[in-house]
Subunit: 232 residues, 2 copies
């Protein structure tokens, strides 16, 4: 071979080798694939409890409304262990002197008296209280309570309870949920909606359940025991 | 050059050329970039109108309740052109003989009498009607109406109105919305939520507005005129 032919042959060989190499690389590469599906997240369904307006009393307020030494009597137990609806009710009077009648007391007694109503109730009695977590009573408005043995003018304690989910410690661990975490909840009723700003409350004493007021429950066409889905 | 040296030189030359080629290709390629952001979708914000329980009357029912030849009088115009709240109200009585008092009539008269209440109202009077679009009265329950000159027992016409959005033809075209389309609506109040199953209603006579009943409005802590966002 003369130099010219030799150059040609070598060049062709180099190119051929490179092409084969490229082909081999292609063949060995994993096939292009659709992105692998994300692992299916566990979907979390829980039952709903809808709370009509109600109140929790401290010992002093109970005495003023029902008489010294009076004790609440159990009408029926509630889903959270140890909690009960009492047979006793009171009348709640707002600043326009309009009333909510037969507002049920929930037991047992607490350290602070707290009256929980919906916005619809608030419009009826002329005062719409803020949305707060149970027990956060600082700065909340007062209201008057009338019982069979007396009346009390509360200087604070009227609230709309925030949406919250009682969750057992076991369930919280299972689903990786932290106490105080804010989640969304989806319901698929005739009036489907997604509730935002639902606060998780974890305790080993809790039965897992979403608590809504009657405005939320009626707006979403839910009844107690309906299942809803937590969206984290 | 002997053949060996020639081969070496040619090979080096080929490799050099290939490297230069690769470098050139790299330099000319567009820089690797983050995926270009999706074009920002137009966000659609509209005001809310919250409808308390109310009713629309046909001519015959108006006569029975208010007397022959009676005509409604205008209390105030509503946001939709030509519609008004009348000074006249009636009492609505459910199957348990419990009443909703001072239920306002909206004018003008319609071909069919229709009574629109919330679930909260329904629980109060002992009957919770189905959620339907205005005018779809087949299979709906009846209710009793009492006016100053007489009472009427309707055999149908009690409804919960579905969530719906009045939208002007211009706005519908601008946003690519079709009559009858179902959308979601997000509100960002203290009790934030997303309403599903909201029906679009397109007309050149409409002013763009979401219509909710008082359960939805109070659950989401909205008042008339608040802005919400349509999610398509």
């Amino acid at each position: 071979m003369d130099n010219r032919n030799l150059i040609k042959e070598i060049t062709e060989q180099v190119i051929k080798n490179l092409q084969e190499k490229r082909l081999e690389t292609r063949t060995l590469s994993p096939k292009p694939q659709a992105p692998s599906p994300k692992p299916q997240a566990t979907r979390i369904f829980i039952p709903v409890g809808i709370s009509n307006h109600h109140l929790h009393l401290d010992k002093e307020t109970l005495s003023k409304l029902f008489g010294d030494g009076y004790e609440l009597t159990v009408r029926n137990p509630l889903s959270q262990p140890g909690q009960f609806a009492a047979n006793e009710t009171v009348t709640v009077i707002g600043p326009k002197l309009r009333a909510l009648q037969n507002v049920r007391i929930l037991g047992p007694l607490r350290k602070q008296t707290q009256v929980e109503i919906s916005k619809t109730d608030g419009i009826q009695i002329g005062i719409v209280p803020p949305v707060v977590a149970s027990g956060n009573l600082e700065g909340t408005p007062g209201v008057s309570l009338v019982g069979p043995k007396g009346a009390v003018n509360l200087s604070f304690g009227l609230i709309r309870a925030n949406r919250h989910i009682h969750i057992s410690k076991d369930d919280a661990e299972k689903y990786g949920i932290k106490d105080g975490q804010i989640v969304k909840v989806k319901c698929s009723s005739e009036k489907a909606m997604i509730f935002e700003k639902c606060q998780m409350r974890v305790s080993e004493n809790f039965v897992t359940e979403l608590h809504l007021d009657t405005d939320d429950g009626n707006a979403a066409d839910l009844i107690c025991g309906d299942e809803v889905e937590i969206l984290i």
